[in-house]
């Protein structure tokens, strides 16, 4: 009320300043720096402008191409990664016997570090490990889960989904809390089957939540699988499990090619930007239906 004094007028800026300063200096400015850096050279050409050379090298690098191909695979697997927690949330919402128990058990792997998850699955998926033992017991020959280039990427994505579906489940359940229960009751009274209820009541009612989960799951697959790759495959076998984030780390830390890594970072940022814009579009359309 004595807000006229100078100190008081500046107070809001003082309160916001530290947060803004950190975000601008350590997130937004590095982004520009990195894009700029991607047009310069490495090693002997350090600091020189090289135009698009780094990007051309990326296109030629089979490892980076594999990384992009794997991003494509993630996009294809996205519907599965969204549908699993969506269905489970539906069942929990419909109060399947024991729903409280399922809810807390399913969420549990989501709090573990990818490093811990990866270490545990290294034991489980070892050639002589429990998974192959179960296979052997039912007469299926053992699989080299992490050593076979055709299988390894699917295994890592599968473990990632195992570790994160609990997060999406909680988001879905929060979405269900906003769903009109009367509609659901009406559908039940009309004798609708479960698939019909899902298709005609739940999916349209939760379109916003579904769009949100799809985008956060995609972002999660693009930016939080490093720990699993680092522990489980190191990008192998034969480079088959590379993702852009792993490629960036290798080029920056191991190969001493920071400018090339920056170019890969810029490509990853463009991919994320497309995902982000898609989110805005999806959410807007979903919002229109409400």
């Amino acid at each position: 009320m004595r807000g006229g004094s100078r100190a008081e007028r500046f107070a809001p800026y003082v309160l916001v300043a530290p947060a803004i300063l950190i975000i601008v200096v350590l997130r937004l400015y590095p982004l520009l720096l990195g894009v700029n850096f991607s047009f310069t050279g490495d090693g002997e050409r350090n600091g020189q402008t090289v135009g698009l050379d780094n990007y051309l090298e990326l296109i030629d690098d089979p490892l980076f191409r594999t990384a992009l191909g794997n991003v494509g695979l993630l996009v294809l697997l996205l519907p599965v990664a969204v549908a699993i927690p969506g269905l489970l949330a539906t069942f929990i919402y419909l109060k399947v016997p024991g729903h409280r128990f399922y809810r807390s058990v399913y969420f549990f792997p989501a709090v573990l570090s990818p490093v811990i998850v990866g270490a545990i699955f290294n034991l489980l998926l070892a050639f002589d490990g429990p998974v192959n033992a179960v296979f052997g017991a039912v007469g299926i020959s053992p699989v080299d889960w992490l050593g076979n280039p055709d299988v390894a990427m699917f295994v890592v994505v599968g473990v990632h989904i195992w570790a994160t579906f609990g997060m999406a489940l909680v988001v879905f359940l929060a979405g269900f809390a906003t769903l009109d229960a009367a509609l659901l009751d009406a559908a039940r009274v009309d004798g609708a089957s479960l698939p019909q209820v899902i298709r005609h009541v739940i999916v349209p009612g939760l379109s916003r939540t579904i769009a949100f989960v799809a985008v956060t799951t995609m972002v999660g697959m693009l930016t939080s699988m490093f720990g699993l790759l680092y522990v489980m495959t190191s990008g192998g076998p034969e480079g088959s499990t590379y993702l852009p984030e792993y490629y960036i780390w290798i080029q920056q830390g191991q190969m001493n090619r920071p400018a090339l890594a920056s170019a890969a970072s810029t490509v990853l940022f463009v991919i994320m930007l497309v995902v982000g814009l898609l989110q805005v579009k999806l959410l807007r359309r979903a919002g229109g239906e409400d």
């Binding site: 009320m1 807000g3 008081e8 107070a11 809001p12 800026y13 309160l15 916001v16 947060a19 803004i20 950190i22 975000i23 601008v24 997130r27 937004l28 590095p30 720096l33 990195g34 489970l88 419909l94 399947v96 024991g98 399922y102 399913y106 549990f108 709090v111 573990l112 570090s113 811990i116 270490a119 545990i120 034991l123 489980l124 429990p130 195992w162 997060m167 909680v170 988001v171 979405g175 039940r188 004798g191 089957s193 479960l194 949100f212 989960v213 930016t223 720990g227 680092y230 984030e245 960036i248 780390w249 920056q252 830390g253 920071p258 970072s265 810029t266 990853l268 940022f269 994320m272 982000g276």
Partner: protein
Amino acid sequence: MSRIRLSRWLLAIPMSLLALATIYPLLFTVNVAMKTRRDYILDRFSLTDTLRWDNISAAWNSVGMDRYFLNSLIVVTSSVVLLLLLGSMAGFALSQLRFRGSSALFLGCLAGLFVPFQVIMVPLARIMADTALIDTYPGLVLVFVAQFLPFTVFLMTSYYKTIPREVIDAARIDGNSVYGVYRRIMLPLGTPALLSVGILNALFCWNDVLMSLVMMPSADHRTLMVGVTSLRGQYSDDIPTFASGVLIAALPVLVVYLFLQRQIADGVAAGSTKG
């Protein structure tokens, strides 16, 4: 009606199997950690008949796990305290105070959400090296804070928006400065949100690998999660000790989960519904 009831019971079967698949990996690891090396090699699945606490102490003592644990504890605690302080200050100003440029500043904070660490890894490492902050506690703390601050500001702003303006106006009439309102009113009223955002941030920081790996290159500055990755090479022929090390690293998170599961889930849900 009855069709739905029947299908509910049928669903319990796949759902229980999935629940089993969710906890079995951890139970397997606990079981292995309690075995002797010999038992593990002879039969890795059977329920252990020994409780080898020695494995745990071996893992704890021999590879510097205690050091890594301490590193993680220092970095995570400092990061969370800073995140909550800066996040609640900014959240209070952006939600309750009217000032020029506030919506632009809010958007500036949100923009940070769209810049993942992977994208700025190279320039950020360079900035940290130029300022001699690389491989130091404050350096990693700053990187963690920069990573999770946009989300923290966002959640604190939406939480503080729910507090009626009259509360602040009344406090101002009582003679409090803006800072006094923050300290005496906003901080205590924000406790539930601070708790839930704080736990989430603690989990994110504690579980991080990539940022710690890039920003803390030297061996005695490793955080616990980076330390765990080095266990495998060390104990490739002693899986029970390896499993024990993994358990030590997971234990704090498991304890937090057992007691604060509700707050974690609420934090995740709040992040989604306020979007």
